[in-house]
Amino acid sequence: MRVETKRQPLPPRERLQQVFDIQDLTAIYGSKPALKDVSMGVYRNLVTAVIGPSGCGKSTFIRCLNRMNDLVPGFRQTGTIRYHGQDIAAKDVDPVAVRRTIGMVFQRPNPFPKSIFDNVAWGLRVLGMKDNLPERVERALTQAALWDEVKDRLKASALSLSGGQQQRLCIARAIAVEPDVVLMDEPASALDPIATQAIELLLHELKSEYSFVIVTHNMQQAARVADMTAFFSISRGEEGDRWGELIEYDSTEKIFTAPSDKRTEDYVTGRFG
């Protein structure tokens, strides 16, 4: 199956500004490598999709980008992840500051058990962005295309919202604190098609202000939203061990219409995965 891609042509690579420069990233849980030797760049104001079969390490990969894996016991990584030149994987970098600049939206909507307003306002308050709080909340909710649906019930519990609304609230919460990059770990996998479409539209709207890295197992979604696509797959060693690997990284158009690796072609045409 070929997927239609309709998009503006990408500017030439040399005119793109690199946000992340990832070199030889290897991620290990305990003694099992989840990901080996990933090298790629992520560019400013683009949507970068990470696709691949289950277990190929795509979630592990984006969780490396904001030090979220620090919370996992037994996790180690090697290689460098340069963010605007600074290696954020280095031990002396404060992970709290990294996450402050590189936000995250998770697979399952995870609003706080607080009011809709407080879900967005909490991060702002804690991070000291207390001036014009209501305006900031309104702006974030508007950007997340949720404002019109919730403006009359900001004091209602966030848990009273539908799944799709909750996920947009989580996006609003993430962008309210004005991050530079927003990482999304399969943000639509728990949502119905209409809610999914709402989130994809959002990405188009917001990428002029942020850079997005989105993990998805849904190829059509990658084809619809992403400018660049990275295809990860599972490699197997001689002793039955397996790890994730970056197979091919290129413009989405190229990945879906003329991939240079046979494995990518098999995957995007549905022969594997």
């Binding site: 919370l71 709290v96 996450r99 936000g103 058990p113 804690v126 991070l127 848990l159």
Partner: protein, 325 residues
């Protein structure tokens, strides 16, 4: 397709009728009797206590609750001093134990390196296994003298302007009782809190940390609000334990029955300790009956505490149930 190779009757009726299964009947009988036994026992105990207190109830009425003093010679008894002592010791213990317990629970769930979590959890819970009489003995022999020689004079000389920290004449004081009770309720409050903190959904913690908040901000903004109801219930259960503790308090509080004082460094007594100390020397019917009256007050209080904890837990559970939906 039928695979029954039985008679034609079995083929018409593939399933046999209900059978009486001996095991099921036996289980039902034994379990039912046990449950019934517990209910009956509670009823009997409550009846005996009310019955035993009847003489004292009719003699002193509700005035018993406010009268301070326990005077067997003149047969004049009152619970006022014990109520005061019970309130001061158990609330004091709760105020000291709660922050400590929350600190322990947070350390064990969020902060400690993984390899020390198991051993420390086990040790804290072992604290609950120490018999109260042993803690009481330690209270008399070790804690009391240390407090009297060092801690109380120091507190009196620095914070003496607060009436709570008056001069001390002995190591057996309300303050000693507060500390002993703190040690005794610490494990309950901390182990319940630890379980509550473990139960906070990791997605919520990640959501907070993903915004770039610190661990403390995450704990304050997510973990504590999420577990508020449960922690309140844990505190109430701790309070119940502190109120009901007799032996250890009897050992360290100084058993002073005739007067109340805001000075924590003076002796006092509590409802439960008084019952434990007095029942052997009670000679008159009215004396015994008055002890039953003290017991009745305790019984009513612990019923209320348990019901309250239940209500709080249920309310908390409902709030968390919304999250699962």
């Amino acid at each position: 397709m039928s695979t029954l190779d039985a008679t034609g009757e079995a083929a018409r009726r593939p399933f046999p009728g209900r059978r009486v299964r001996t095991g099921d009947v036996l289980l039902q009988g034994v379990a039912g009797l046990a449950a019934l036994g517990a209910v009956v026992l509670l009823g009997l105990i409550a009846y005996k206590i009310v019955d035993g207190a009847r003489l004292s109830l009719s003699t002193f009425g509700l005035g018993f609750l406010t009268h301070v003093g326990w005077d067997p010679v003149h047969s004049r008894f009152g619970a006022g001093g014990f109520l005061f002592g019970t309130a001061v010791t158990s609330i004091g213990a709760l105020l000291l134990a709660t922050p400590l317990a929350l600190g322990i629970a947070l350390f064990l769930t969020e902060l400690a390196p993984r390899w020390i979590r198991g051993p420390v959890t086990a040790l804290v819970e072992t604290l609950a296994a120490i018999p109260s009489v042993v803690i009481g003995l330690w209270g008399i022999l070790v804690l009391g003298p240390v407090l009297h020689d060092h801690v109380m004079p120091a507190l009196h000389s620095t914070l003496g302007f607060i009436p709570l920290f008056g001069p001390s004449t002995t190591g057996s004081t309300i303050f000693t009782a507060i500390l002993v009770l703190t040690i005794m309720i610490l494990p309950i409050v901390s182990s319940i809190s630890r379980e509550l903190f473990v139960g906070v959904p990791p997605e919520l913690k990640e959501a907070a940390l993903g915004l770039g908040t610190t661990r403390w901000e995450m704990v304050r903004g997510v973990v504590l609000p999420y577990t508020r109801g449960g922690v309140a219930a844990a505190m109430i259960l701790g309070l119940g334990r502190a109120v009901g503790e007799a032996i250890a308090v009897a050992q360290v509080s100084g058993a002073f029955n005739n007067g109340i004082s805001w000075n924590l460094f003076s002796s006092g007594n509590t409802l439960a300790a008084q019952i434990a100390l007095e029942y052997q020397s009670a000679e008159t019917n009215l004396d015994v009956s008055s002890l039953f009256y003290l017991g009745l007050i305790l019984l009513v209080f612990s019923l209320v505490v348990n019901l309250l904890a239940r209500v709080v837990v249920r309310r908390g559970a409902r709030r968390q149930g919304v999250l699962a939906r």
